[in-house]
């Protein structure tokens, strides 16, 4: 019948009119990033870290500047774990290179900042700050 398609079209749009909306109301509600998402800042688990520097060696852009200290018992400690995220290309090689799975992404996508210095941060220092904030 002529015009049947028009009615079908109208029914489709009416169904969408009442259906669930896809828009995420951004500042109020945020999308949860999936497991494969690479981005944000690196989180260093200092208990797992063996200070082997393999992550820094894997980095193609030399975005990681690590300072390792060896104490009297010849144990290695991570003093500074500086991630220059301005240089980082988020290739995930550091995370893959880690033998103890000590580094992960925090999956935060709101990393835009006003000053270039804010791009560089120390993961160890951040851990300490977080500890201080918790207590």
């Amino acid at each position: 019948m002529q015009g049947k398609g028009l009615l079908i079209g109208l029914s489709v749009t009416l169904r969408h009119f009442f259906s669930r909306k896809e828009t995420v109301q951004y500042p109020e509600e945020k999308l949860v990033m999936n497991d494969l998402f690479r981005g944000g800042r690196l989180i260093l688990n200092e208990k797992k870290c063996i200070s082997c520097k393999l992550c820094a060696m894997a980095c193609p852009n030399e975005a990681l500047a690590l300072t390792v200290e060896i104490d009297e018992q010849k144990k290695r400690h991570m003093k500074k774990y500086v991630h220059k995220s301005g240089r980082c290309l988020y290739c995930n090689f550091c995370v893959e290179a880690c033998p103890t799975k000590a580094i992960t992404w925090d999956k935060n996508y709101e990393i835009a900042c006003y000053h270039i210095e804010e791009l560089t941060y120390d993961a160890v220092k951040r851990n300490k700050e977080d500890e201080n904030n918790e207590y």
Binding site: L6, G9, L10, V12, T13, L14, H16, F17, F18, S19, R20, K21, E22, T23, Q25
Partner: protein, 345 residues
């Protein structure tokens, strides 16, 4: 039939004005001016609501929310847009016919607003219940064509001019099916007076008696008001914005205003002719009227966001080869129907 709420209000205000001015003539003149102001206020408010509605319905159909940030539920979005448009720079094209170009947006609003004089908003609430009401509507509504042509011509822009030519072609070919579909209604009521047409529907709405005329009228009205699927006048993909191409800021806002005023007029006309006007049980007439009008506007918007734009030749073919013969057939059928009806009773 109950006396409308607004009629009593008008009588009350007339008494007050008479008391203040001490002269019945001045009091009545004051009331007439007040009514004009009220009509303009109603138009402006309705346009703001319609623009919000349009964007909201568009969003909801496309699985979005639409404007929901400015004010509660985004209700003030249109107001914000209007402020933006008013504060924009007034750009006049160097080669335009400045006078014609400048007055066109203002003139365009006149026929759009003039038809509201004969719309029955409630029982007895009608600015001018003239004997040729519906004829007046058809005559005045078609004046808009001239101004589209004027605006397109004065812009000195090929897209504007092309859009203007299209506007003329489209509106001429939509006027005739509209007139013929209305003629069937007029044949049944035997009167051109708007209030008579409404009161003739106290038993049964004309949509039930004249379904074919209703469909023809709706399609032709979509053409007349330049709404998708027949918005060829401003078809963005082909001719940028048609006659509005060179207009910006406040002048463009006036075009926009006239467009939505026409849409509201189309909805009011549909309600008056086919959906029983202000008539309905329980609620006062004006609320039935508003409900029906916005239901019709919703249907118009629903259609707009469902169908893609037609080609100009398809539209012309639909109008002249399908709608016009159908409307003529409908008139003949109505005539035969009336004859049989009179013969039986």
């Amino acid at each position: 039939m109950h006396e409308g709420l607004l009629v009593n209000l008008t009588v009350f205000l007339t008494r007050i004005a008479e008391f203040i001015f001490g002269n019945i003539f001045i009091a009545q003149l004051f009331i007439v001016l007040l009514e004009i102001v009220v009509i303009f206020a109603v138009i402006s408010l309705a346009v703001i609501i319609q623009v919000y509605m349009e964007r909201r319905i568009c969003g909801l159909i496309q699985d979005r929310f639409g404007p929901n940030r400015v004010g509660p539920f985004g209700l003030l979005q249109t107001v914000a847009d209007m402020i933006k448009l008013m504060s924009k720079e007034d750009i006049v094209p160097a080669k335009a016919e400045k006078l014609l170009w400048g007055i066109t947006p203002m003139l365009l609003f006149i026929p759009a607003a003039l038809v509201y004089a004969v719309f029955p908003f409630d029982n007895g609430v009608i600015f001018a219940d003239i004997g040729i009401g519906i004829f007046f509507v058809i005559a005045v509504m078609s004046q808009g064509v001239l101004l589209f042509l004027l605006g397109g011509y004065a812009s000195e822009n090929k897209y504007s001019f092309m859009g203007a030519m299209r506007a003329v072609a489209q509106m001429l070919s939509s006027e005739i099916p509209i007139a013929f579909s209305i003629l069937a209604i007029v044949m049944m009521t035997g009167s051109l007076r708007m209030s008579d047409i409404v009161s003739a529907q106290s038993g049964i709405w004309f949509i039930a008696v004249q379904p074919l005329a209703f469909i023809i009228f709706i399609i032709a009205m979509l053409m007349e008001t330049n709404r998708t699927p027949f918005d060829l006048v401003e078809g963005e993909a082909e001719i940028i914005a048609g006659p509005f191409t060179e207009y910006s800021g406040m002048r463009w806002a006036l075009f926009f205003l006239a467009e939505y005023t026409n849409l509201l007029a189309a909805a009011i006309l549909t309600v008056t002719l086919f959906l029983g006007g202000w008539q309905g049980p329980f609620l006062p007439g004006i609320s039935w009227f508003i409900l029906k009008v916005f239901a019709v506007i919703f249907v118009f918007m629903w259609i707009r966001w469902t169908f893609p734009r037609t080609r100009i030749d398809q539209m012309m073919a639909l109008s002249w080869k399908v709608l016009l013969p159908l409307a003529l057939f409908n008139i003949m059928a109505t005539g035969i129907g009336i004859y049989i009806y009179k013969w039986i009773y």
